[in-house]
Amino acid sequence: MAADWGFPSELEDVAGEVAIAGVGEADHTKASGRTTKEIGAQAIERALADAGLTPRDVDGIMYTPFDGQQFGADDYRAHFGTTHEMWVSTAGGGMVWAGSAPHEAALAIRTGRARTVVNVFSVAWATQRADMVGGPGEVHASELFKQNLEVPFGWFPQPVYFATIARRHMHEYGTTSAQLGAIAVACRRHANLTPAAVLHDKPLTLEQYLASPAICDPFRKEDCCLISDGGGAYVMTSVERARDLRPPVVQVAGVGVGNSRTRVYWSQQGDFTATPQVFAAPAACRMAGIVPADVDVLACYDPFTIVSLMQIEDMGFCAKGEGGRFVEGTALHFDGGRLPYNTHGGMLSHAYVLGIAHVVEIVRQLRGEAAAQVKDAEIGVYGGYTGPQASTLVLRRR
């Protein structure tokens, strides 16, 4: 397949300039009655405590404008009782931006616009779902081409798109339900080992997966992510400053962003069974000076099992089409798998907080602090995804 359906973003080389010095997760729950901003505040409090910083030490904040509810600079000052000016970027948050925010932050820190930057993302979609507002479906239903060319046919919401993609992947490459199930089982096992995971106490075997009914063929419920209240934050600063904070230093080694020319219209993407990781991952690996085989632990934005499978292929961990065979059995498990993957449980089993917790998990893995710890993990990668874009963030312990 000619890769003309997308392109990489041109990013400046920021390898080794900044570190992630603190990480925090809010409580991840089902419907909790909390607001998006309350959850964001809790995540930042915990990230600052983790870094050993005070609220005044942070002079930059990154978030996403996408739902109009995110915790921003005014919220920061009100919550923490500070009055200082802050560098503000709306190129942060979760999803793709959980992976690309460190590039933007590195440029701000390099040019003196900020010294220490927090990236935050939170959702209260489990709470809001009870009111039939908010949530991932509404975001898509309010897009007018989707509203007028997709939703009327019942090709909506996202589980239906990605079931259709999975079906085509099965046709083109022979991928099986048991292979998709292996991804769900690996994620669940990791969640079972992770106290903060929403499905911490719910085991899942491959037999149970295969015996469960389809909700939209070929997907079962276990192929689909949770809907959660929760969030996370991470604090970035220069590598020099990070050396004065808690060890070890987790450096941002590489960032890449890939784009699909067909944007949010999955049905039209030239290569229907691929993600823009095809464009993002090579750029990030080049910046970091690594190859996929160097990666000790991977976490990808995983709304559905097939999105994990496609990103693993598209990031170069195996050839395109071989993802199904690659993920079989215990290949993705933290303890001896060939590619420890979503070691906190991912969005399928940990929490649907849109990737921010994935970055938190990778940092913990590289520090040796994870619940399902990969032995001697030194290089960790986050794969972000929205559909229109993908990002790759390479982190390295120094």
């Binding site: 079931a163 020319r261 219209y265 229907f272």
Partner: protein, 151 residues
């Protein structure tokens, strides 16, 4: 976000897709075609992504194509679809240009017998939804497995 009261029916007056729904009401399948380079441009766009032209003609196509992929939807993700499940939502690549993929329903079929790349042909059926006033005629597709040369 507040949706129209007839959601999830399409807004047949929305300019970018108005001709698609008007054609369907006449029993035709129409897709915009660039007047300069003659390529079909789907989804509709003000500017041709192949040549940059801004002039298009909605062109009636044969209604033949191939089933690119599909899902058998068994859960009603929104209450308006409660009376429809299970249904087959899918993507059809049109014969004139397989890069043009129409989101549609596959009807009059045994879902278990569907195969990717099966030839399909268009039929026109009303879209109706539980608890929603009104209906809109829409292009849907049926398999023509036993008639490989189409209708």
């Amino acid at each position: 976000m507040r949706f129209r009261s007839d959601f999830p029916l399409p807004d047949t007056d929305w300019p970018p897709t108005r001709e698609f729904w008007a054609a369907a009401a006449r029993g035709e399948l129409a897709v915009p075609r660039c007047d300069a380079c003659q390529r079909y441009v789907w989804y509709p766009d003000g500017t041709c992504r192949f040549c940059g032209s801004q002039s298009f003609t909605w062109t009636t196509v044969t209604g033949r194509g191939r089933l690119f992929s599909w899902s058998v939807v068994r859960r009603a993700f929104i209450p308006q679809l409660a009376a429809d499940v299970p249904y087959v939502a899918g993507v059809v690549a049109i014969e004139e240009d397989p890069a043009v993929r129409l989101v549609t329903r596959i009807v009059d079929c045994d879902p278990a017998s569907l195969r990717a790349d099966t030839p399909v042909r268009v039929v026109f059926r009303p879209l109706r939804f539980a608890g929603v006033q009104g209906e809109v005629t829409a292009p849907m597709f049926v398999p023509c497995r036993n008639r490989p040369f189409g209708i």
